[in-house]
């Protein structure tokens, strides 16, 4: 018992550290999503978000216009600047995509045709590529890549390329330069982020309409179940009638029924009674699907309120309705608020029920449907849009959550600890 205080300290350090670790773990995907939302599709498929914060060496192909090529003896020469008026810094260059940065700026990279002696004694021609400093002579190696001996003095220049760090280049070829030659350089690319994904989403047709539709679905679909559930929960908690226990058991039982089972029959019913696919329909559907949890949560909370208060009110002549509105409802505010947050988040993020119970025309799309069916492209390949859309659609729920979070914790505890 003496070292109780010390134990507590070390324990709380462990707790704090594990909390920090958990929070960081939780945040990693969100941060990744946030970073991705500022990158284009091609960037996302080329490298991970964690690599996006650093400059990377990138290889690019440049095809300088062949206009201005001149003839110099047996060779054709094209020169100019690869950045064409812009600026940049070359860190390496080459003449084939397989080795884009093989030579350093200031060097010449040349391809020769040479004769080699093969192991069986036959003489054949092959290509040899060499890099050498500009202003010096090329040194032809004595062996080719396969280890065959090069016949001295047979090297004939096929093409060569000289590039300096600022992008000035000279391209020499033994053939007339009619098509733009492919020149490869490597250069450091600074990290690049853009707001394009956000602009695409905000500027797309009917986005405002979708936002309003989402609110039209969400607000009534949050309020209606709370209204009904509060009455039901009071009755199940504080009014004595036959079969009350059975009813509670039914409600708890309904919690485990997957709502997908009800989609087709419910829509059939809506069509039969003339509601069809409409906002009224989706309010009723969300209400139905939300009620079991709402009643269960509120009833457990209300049953834990002090019996004394309610009984004294009844002794003083209050009716059940008065007890409910004047005492139980104000006291249950944390539970009501926490359920409201749940229901709001769930209806805000819902895609399935919106697709089933709302008409499929673009005038009644909610935001989730708009994102999934319109913005994500023909086959859902626009990852950047998806990431940005996630952050746009999260804004309102985040606001609701922070505005009401103090009730959430209280409400959760209140329902469970009895």
């Amino acid at each position: 018992m003496d070292n109780m205080a010390g134990q507590k300290t070390s324990l709380s350090i462990v707790t704090n550290i594990s909390v920090i670790v958990l929070v960081v773990l939780w945040l990693i995907p969100t941060v990744g999503l946030l970073v991705s939302s500022f990158r284009t599709n091609d960037q996302i498929s080329a490298s991970g978000w964690w690599a996006s914060m650093f400059s990377v060496e990138e290889a690019i192909r440049i095809s300088p216009e062949p206009a201005g090529a001149s003839r110099n003896g047996d060779y054709h020469v094209l020169s100019g600047n690869l950045f064409e008026g812009g600026s940049g810094s070359v860190s390496g260059f080459g003449i084939a995509a397989t080795a884009p940065g093989v030579a350093e700026p200031g060097q010449v990279y040349a391809r020769y045709t040479v004769d080699v002696t093969e192991p069986d004694g036959k003489v054949d021609d092959t290509r040899i590529e060499v890099a050498y400093d500009a202003g010096t002579e090329a040194v032809i190696p004595t062996q080719d890549d396969d280890g065959n001996a090069v016949v001295p003095g047979t090297a004939v220049l096929e093409r060569s390329l000289e590039v300096t760090e600022n992008g000035d280049f000279t391209y020499v070829s033994d053939k007339e330069i009619k098509r733009a030659p492919s020149v490869y350089i490597t250069t450091m690319q600074p990290p690049s982020f853009s707001l394009k994904n956000y602009q695409t989403i905000m500027a797309s047709d009917n986005m405002d309409r979708a936002f309003i539709n989402t609110l039209t679905v969400t607000i009534p679909a949050t309020i209606i179940p709370i209204l009904i559930a509060a009455f039901a929960a009071y009755a199940l908690a504080w009014m004595d009638f036959a079969g009350r226990g059975f009813l509670i058991a039914m409600v708890v039982g309904l919690l485990v029924v997957p709502l997908q089972l009800a989609l087709v029959p419910l829509l059939q019913l809506h069509n039969k009674i003339g509601i069809g696919q409409s906002f009224l329909g989706i309010w009723l559907a969300h209400t139905g699907f939300g009620l079991p949890l709402a009643i269960y949560l509120l009833r457990n909370y209300m049953v834990g309120l002090p019996r004394d208060i309610i009984e004294s009110a009844k002794v003083d002549g209050a009716t059940d309705f008065q007890v409910f509105t004047k005492i139980v409802l104000p006291l249950s505010f944390p539970a009501l608020a926490s359920f409201a947050i749940f229901q709001f988040l769930w209806t805000w993020n819902d895609l399935l029920i919106a697709k089933v119970f709302l008409p499929s025309n673009s005038e009644s799309w909610v935001m989730t449907v708009k994102i999934a069916d319109d913005l994500l492209g023909s086959r859902g390949g626009d990852w950047g849009i998806l990431a940005a859309a996630a952050f746009i659609s999260i804004a309102v729920p985040l606001f609701v959550f922070f505005a009401m979070q103090k009730y959430l914790v209280r409400g959760l505890l209140a329902g469970s600890v009895k």
């Binding site: 284009t40 599709n41 091609d42 498929s45 080329a46 290889a59 690019i60 192909r61 084939a96 995509a97 397989t98 080795a99 884009p100 492919s182 490869y184 989609l263 087709v264 029959p265 829509l267 059939q268 809506h270 069509n271 039969k272 069809g276 696919q277 697709k355 089933v356 499929s360 025309n361 673009s362 999934a372 069916d373 319109d374 913005l375 994500l376 492209g377 023909s378 086959r379 859902g380 390949g381």
Partner: protein
């Protein structure tokens, strides 16, 4: 001159019907290589002002914009309103909405299997009498398109339910001409040459293939296309048909052989970018990107005609990217088989305007209008190939036209539990190590259990 007068009169009549200003239409009627005669003739026949056709389908985003432009002409011609909505989860949505009684007028099915399923439950209405004869006469390989759209109804009588509109070509290999040029590779004409080239690229220190099977919930489907293509290149088309109907078991040597042919490419660490292990986890949308990186991560990518939509922005067709026909074995003498898929229109709630829409889809103009916007191939024989938006499309159209055998994507024809389930997951098991024989036996067991 006479034609011009006729056309402008028809256009006047159309605008008089009141619905749409001409500026609304993306191609001016009467201009270009389009078959405007078929449009004018259609416009004369129908006046459906005040009616609405609702259509749902799998085309979303950019494809929805294109098809909406085609429907604009239907609206201009008839005065009816067309309400098309695309859904990312069309296959689920259409089942729910037809069963619940809030079906659209027309549904665009990406898979005949699903349409057949719904027809057998009485949820679809057969097309008008005579449509089957018309398709047989006017589509390239017409009878096969009739067969693919003919299903047994609720009472067991067979009739034509689906009209094919838009075909995807699957037997294509995409590559970068610049990369092939620099390395000095030639386009292979036979499967033997393709395998040689694959080996040669490895010998030269490169990686020949980019293969990605990832696709969210549908992970594995790109492999089924590989296997189907291999099936058509190693076995008679009749064997393929038996396989689709399960008249030969899934673990028949012919099928196992085709799976192993796919494995020759995909299960060799040297042949695929990232090694065989990454095949199952790479997303199919990201996998072609390796063709365009510098230095290139791979040289070839086998995928259907839609894949250019996922090429990096600014990729120019014919310059940065091109394709060749996924060749057949020279020694097997099976001709030039082509694997494809397609979408079909079926009536879910009949109405006058709906029948008119089916008639509209039979006109060459309705196909040409999308051909001109790109990303559309058709089996309709009456269209003018000059309206294809680019040479790539035209070349694909030629491959389709020159096919000695055309077969529809087998996994789309099998029951969805197999074709959109066990076959997909089986392929993932295969590339991650399970022997082909075991995978095929597992799929056959699943097939037995659903009968």
């Amino acid at each position: 001159m006479k034609y011009a007068v006729y056309a402008s009169v028809a256009v006047l009549a159309v605008t008089a019907q009141g619905a749409f200003a001409e500026a609304h239409l993306s191609f001016t009627p009467g201009e270009g290589d389009f078959n405007w005669d078929s449009y004018n003739a259609f416009a004369e026949l129908y006046d459906l002002s005040g009616q609405t056709v609702t259509i749902t389908g799998p085309w979303t985003g950019n494809e929805k914009e294109k098809v909406d432009k085609v429907f604009d002409y239907f609206e201009a011609a008839t005065g009816a309103e067309v309400n098309y909505s695309g859904s990312d989860s069309f296959e689920q949505d259409i089942v729910i909405s037809t069963r619940a009684g809030s079906a659209p007028n027309l549904a665009v099915f990406p898979q005949p299997g699903l349409a057949a399923d719904m027809a057998s439950q009485g949820l679809l209405t057969p097309l008008a009498d005579g449509t089957a004869e018309w398709v047989a006469a006017n589509y390239a390989a017409g009878q096969s398109w009739v067969d693919l759209g003919t299903y047994a109804g609720q009472d067991g009588t067979e009739s034509l339910y689906g009209l094919f509109y838009r075909v995807d070509l699957k037997s294509l290999v995409w590559f970068s001409p610049i990369a092939f040029d620099e390395a000095g590779y030639d386009i292979p004409e036979t499967m033997e040459e393709l395998k040689e080239l694959t080996q040669q690229i490895v010998d030269d220190g490169g990686t020949p293939w980019c293969i990605g099977l990832g696709s969210g919930a549908a992970t594995g489907w790109p492999a089924t296309d590989w296997v189907e293509d291999m099936m058509l290149r190693t076995a008679e088309p009749s064997v393929y048909d038996q396989w689709v109907k399960n008249e030969i078991p899934f673990n028949d040597p012919a099928v196992v052989g085709a799976i192993e042919e796919f494995g020759w490419f995909a299960k060799n660490d040297d042949f695929v970018q990232g090694g065989a292990q990454s095949v199952a986890t790479t997303d199919f949308r990201d996998s072609p990107a390796g063709l365009f990186t510098i230095p290139q991560e791979c040289y070839m990518h086998r995928q259907a005609s839609f894949i250019p939509a996922f090429f990096p922005e600014g990729t120019e067709m014919g310059v940065d990217a091109d394709f060749f026909y996924f060749p057949a074995y020279a020694e097997k003498d099976l001709g030039t088989p082509v694997l494809g898929a397609g979408t079909l229109f079926a009536i879910t709630t009949p109405s006058d305007a709906t029948s008119a829409m089916i008639e509209f889809l039979k006109t060459p103009i309705s196909h040409e209008l999308w051909m001109a916007q790109g990303g559309f191939l058709t089996a309709h024989a009456g269209v003018n190939p000059a309206t294809y938006s680019d040479d790539t499309q035209r070349a694909q159209g030629e491959i389709l036209a020159n096919a000695t055998t055309f077969r529809f994507d087998a996994s789309d024809l099998m029951p969805s539990e197999i074709g959109a389930g066990a076959f997909w997951s089986g392929m993932i098991d295969y590339v991650t190590g399970t022997p082909a024989e075991d995978v095929a036996t597992t799929i056959q067991t699943r097939w037995d259990s659903i009968r």
